[in-house]
Symmetry: D3
Subunit: 142 residues, 6 copies
């Protein structure tokens, strides 16, 4: 694990996204919140936030951090469901992994709650969208 | 959570995959195991296996299950690193989510250990490859 | 921890309840789902189910068990919000604690999401409602 | 999750209580520490402290925090066992939920260790007793 | 992780031990239960049992298992405190690691609660004492 | 739990060690990395680091802390495998337990991955080697 004890405490923010591709039946059920397993988007939001808080327990070399905020949001982009996760801390190291884990687990929860309707659901393109704070400053994906 | 108490105990297997796309610098470092954070593939394998075992703590409506086996493997396909995770149980419900979580967290660990070389790494196409066992029997992705 | 290795595997069910008493402002916000923290009932349901699955990690002498089902439901009884949690397993010991933990954490999540409107919220009367399965058979609270 | 990055770090304390009502047989056993499961009060104290430290993993929208102290104490008030949990942090947000979770899980552990003597045990009136620190300052339950 | 799906379910028991060597001041405090941190032996017993239940989350290639029983006991052997942990399951694989983890974490908890009196405390000779069940049958340390 | 709210935040470091004694067959396999379970040393390093981060969830009265760094290293000393774990924080209390837990779980993982070759493996002499930071300053084992 990288030693961060000499880094400066600063506000650090990271935002990641993932896309869930599913068939029309799953999409319709998700949009209408008529899934037998209940309101999947809220459940996925909760799961993503809780997982982001468990990042240090999941990714071996990450630092356990206090977090000032984690949020997970959803947006339909035509047939794809976009999942966005944002994490924020006041700490000595960044929160990219918290955002990436939050987006991934939220997407996996969507998968779990709709897989009865479409076994072939794919989670596409999990990636960092932007980050700020720390020595390297602001970065935005081109 | 779906009630599985009347389902039959059977051997159930699921296999999922994910792909990690990174720039040449990250790829070279990963292949040469010269990363400052150490042997990323073994660490990612361990992280994927351990996360698969935490599936019930991460995905809200999954059932806590004994697991007979979890494995995570890597394979280079030209410029993409393929991550494959397989889970196996003797239980009343399947282990798709264990396989999906294992592949995702292994891929995220690769991301964490190479992101200093490439902030733009993308995890692509996380999906179920095949499953067997239970009432619905064998399914293979086309 | 009591040795259950000689007990018989049977289907065991337990149901517990808790009541949340809050002021009219909190009640109105909860009913209208207009809380700044989002849809509190779904979040509390997810939290209760996930906590029930963590029972063996929370209550020292409980047995780690596979679970066939956990459910959490809400119902308004005049000014009180009733939380009901049900757990089900096919195992050598019962799931009273899973139901009790599920109801408690769901109620505590309601508290967390409404406490900005009412610091004085009280969780009342957390208790077992009924259980079945195992040597002692069916029990219903009088 | 509420963004607390602009809040000031201050010492924050919260104290919560719960009451356990049980029949004379359970009470006698608990007082005499003659339970087959061992010294229930110490076990419940440990369980309450450990659960308070897991608050961010249990309650969806709470912030993971360093904790300066958690304590759990017991007191007989006639036939009721009073459980008191206190949490303390130097952070940007309060520790009400840590105190509430600590009191609840300690009470549930008492329940688990005495339920063989009284299935009807009830946990009554889990609530915040006082808090201090942060913008809203000191609050004491009337 | 070794595939155990073709192994037979049988009752499997494992017992491990550890020894804690400390100076007279720590020993006296521990025996008199006059430690400022409270009754260390009961806390260590609870910690050992709870850690044994977390074995699959701690040791990478262990199988998550239902457990029929975990117990932790202490015994003074002159100046050494002997910690013994026993685990029992009805499963397809053994519980050596559950016993080893239980004994280790119980011993580490003793260390934590007495280290103010003796920084030099040593945990000695953590090892398997005996096991039974499964294909390899009964094994006792010579 | 000791109240640390009035202690000063300072950089605190602790280093612990453990020794694993095994038979020649296990030693040879470990050195040649030819174990059926894979590269045991990297897996044990990852397990030790991840466990150190879980210290507050394992040892009842420890404080949850941000960690600036955890590292686990191995070294052969003739027939013994020495495991060294170092933890570092900027906090109000020390990280002795993080180092002790990291060394113990890394050693137990070695045990798990070689026990098929030697049931009699012993973990010897888990102890603190040095610490620095905080009021009591630097301490080195004699």
């Amino acid at each position: 694990m990288v030693d961060v004890s000499r880094k400066r405490v600063s506000v650090r923010v990271a935002c990641a996204e993932a896309f869930v591709r599913m068939n029309p039946a799953a999409r319709t059920a998700l949009r209408a919140a008529t899934l037998p397993k209940g309101d999947a988007l809220v459940a996925a939001q909760v799961a993503g936030i809780m997982a982001a808080k468990q990042t240090a327990a999941l990714i071996p070399l990450t630092h356990p951090l206090p977090l000032d905020r984690v949020d997970v949001r959803f947006q339909w982009q035509r047939d794809l469901l976009r999942v966005e996760a944002e994490a924020r801390t006041s700490a000595r190291t960044g929160v990219e992994m918290e955002a990436m884990v939050g987006a991934s687990i939220a997407a996996l929860t969507i998968y779990d709650m709709t897989k009865a309707l479409d076994k072939g659901i794919t989670i596409e393109s999990v990636k960092l969208v932007r980050k700020s704070g720390g020595k390297s400053g602001r970065w935005t994906r081109k």
